[in-house]
């Protein structure tokens, strides 16, 4: 099949097509699993059992929820900007998928190993802010608009330290290609060389994906549901799917940048294939993000801004300067 497809479309295009199908399937499965995991983690942290009725350990619960979501009516508010309202959920989901294209799961398992891979991921992940703004604006609802505005302000504030912390790694490797960055961590993972950058990246990534304690764009207690207040059915489902897929991409990038990608600790592979190492680390980071969510309350908006402009940006800038100086000296 691979050969036939290759003859028909050319090796490059068929690889892309096949990759896209795999990505789509994987992102759905991943979201189903992550929602289940999130509910289990939340439950056990609060000494509750979490979902347990549907399927073994409640594993089928999210599938049932998904079916319910698909079956629901799609409501469009009468005074909403229809085109934008329909477009926003698609717009939020598509750029997340693009990020998958360059993720280095293992040396052979990269759909397209671009020399600007890292840039591509961050360029497209910024799109989701635009989509959230579009959705919130088009809803013609004051809560949705407030959520959208907050999301933009938050992302503008957190994009800067995020990129600065990533730049420190790029400076050390001297490449934007993700497979090069992972290859450079064969012995020493970068979070040992760049602990500050790793920490800043993780905090900013949490804010970037609108996760608690930085989930003020969708703060339930103040804004009903924030930017997706007016969305129902699968349109809401797409926002949800995008959030969880985005979380996966962000954690996968963290794994590639700071936690040695497909390598085992200190170069010991322990007979486990690279892709398993990669997924293990990624899911551990996802667990940490959930753990943080169920530990800390939501920040107030000014606290969030203060934290970014007064702590994260100066620290990441200082980190970058020190890294550059050290590289120049060595």
């Amino acid at each position: 099949m691979w050969q036939a497809l290759g003859n028909m479309l050319g090796a490059d295009l068929s690889r892309l097509l096949l990759g896209l199908v795999i990505i789509l399937a994987f992102s759905q499965l991943n979201a189903l699993f992550l929602v289940w995991l999130e509910r289990k983690v939340a439950g056990h942290i609060q000494l509750r059992p979490g979902p347990k009725e549907v399927g073994p350990f409640g594993l089928l619960q999210t599938i049932v929820d998904g079916i319910k979501l698909v079956g629901k009516e799609l409501i469009t508010p009468r005074l909403a900007d229809r085109k934008l309202f329909v477009l926003a959920p698609v717009l939020v989901f598509m750029p997340v998928l693009v990020g998958f294209m360059v993720l280095p799961f293992s040396p052979g398992l990269i759909i397209r190993d671009m020399n600007v891979g890292l840039l591509l991921i961050f360029a497209f992940s910024t799109f989701s802010v635009l989509a959230i703004l579009a959705g919130g604006w088009a809803s013609n609802n004051k809560y949705a608009l407030l959520g959208a505005i907050r999301s933009v302000a938050q992302n503008v504030a957190y994009e800067i330290p995020l990129l600065l912390s990533v730049m420190a790694v790029v400076l050390t490797v001297n490449s934007l290609r993700l497979s090069d960055i992972v290859s450079a961590q064969h012995r020493v993972w970068f979070f040992m060389l760049q602990p500050v950058a790793a920490l800043i990246y993780l905090i900013c990534a949490t804010a970037e994906t609108n996760r608690a304690p930085f989930d003020i764009p969708e703060a339930e207690s103040e804004l009903v549901a924030g930017f997706h207040t007016e969305y129902s059915g699968m349109r809401f489902g797409l926002f949800f799917l995008a959030e969880y897929t985005n979380m996966f991409v962000v954690c996968a990038v963290a794994t590639a940048l700071f936690f040695g990608g497909w390598y085992g600790p200190f170069g010991f592979q322990l007979g486990i294939p690279g892709v398993v190492w990669f997924l293990l680390k990624t899911y551990f980071l996802l667990f940490v993000i959930m753990w943080v969510r169920w530990t800390f309350p939501r920040l107030r908006f000014d606290q969030l801004m203060n934290f970014s402009w007064k702590v994260m940006i100066p620290l990441s800038l200082a980190n970058l300067v020190v890294t550059a100086a050290v590289i120049k000296l060595i």
Binding site: V41, L47, P49, W291, W294, T295
Partner: protein
């Protein structure tokens, strides 16, 4: 507070918070799956009132004096009694409470001169009509005997 000390203190509180939740994560679940498992209610649980059975007489000691009926702030108690002959003391034949409107204040239990009232530990009551909430305590006592 200085810039650095605030950052350090904040960072430490993050670690402390995460430590608390990860401990909770591995602790056993405390939820009881209700319809499948039941908890034994504590003896101090205040359900609706019920008549005590005394060991000497093997029955209740209600003399149908009506103190509880007059004392009840919600007016949900109705007691009826008879005298078997002119000189004998009164014995209750009906003791009705409308539990749907009872506020569980416990004044009836406190004011009973023969101390024949107590709180039951029954909690999962259900009914299809509002009259199902009206309970005859004497009938209940008779049923519990068998």
């Amino acid at each position: 507070m200085g810039y650095w000390s605030e950052m350090l203190e904040g960072g430490w509180s993050v670690v402390e918070g995460m430590r608390v939740t990860v401990r909770r994560l591995v602790q056993p679940v405390v939820t009881v799956q209700y319809p499948r498992k039941h908890l034994q209610p504590s003896p101090a649980y205040r359900g609706h009132t019920e008549l005590k059975r005394f060991a000497e007489t093997e029955t209740h000691a209600c003399i149908a004096c009506g103190t509880c009926q007059r004392r009840c702030p919600s007016g949900v108690i109705k007691v009826q009694g008879v005298k078997s002959h002119a000189k004998s003391s009164k014995v209750a034949t009906h003791y009705l409470i409308d539990y749907t409107r009872c506020s569980l204040c416990g004044l009836c239990v406190e004011c009973c001169p023969t101390q024949t009232l107590k709180f039951s530990t029954q909690f999962a009551l259900e009914g299809v009509s509002r009259w199902d909430g009206v309970i005859d305590l004497i009938e209940r006592l008779e049923e519990n005997k068998s």
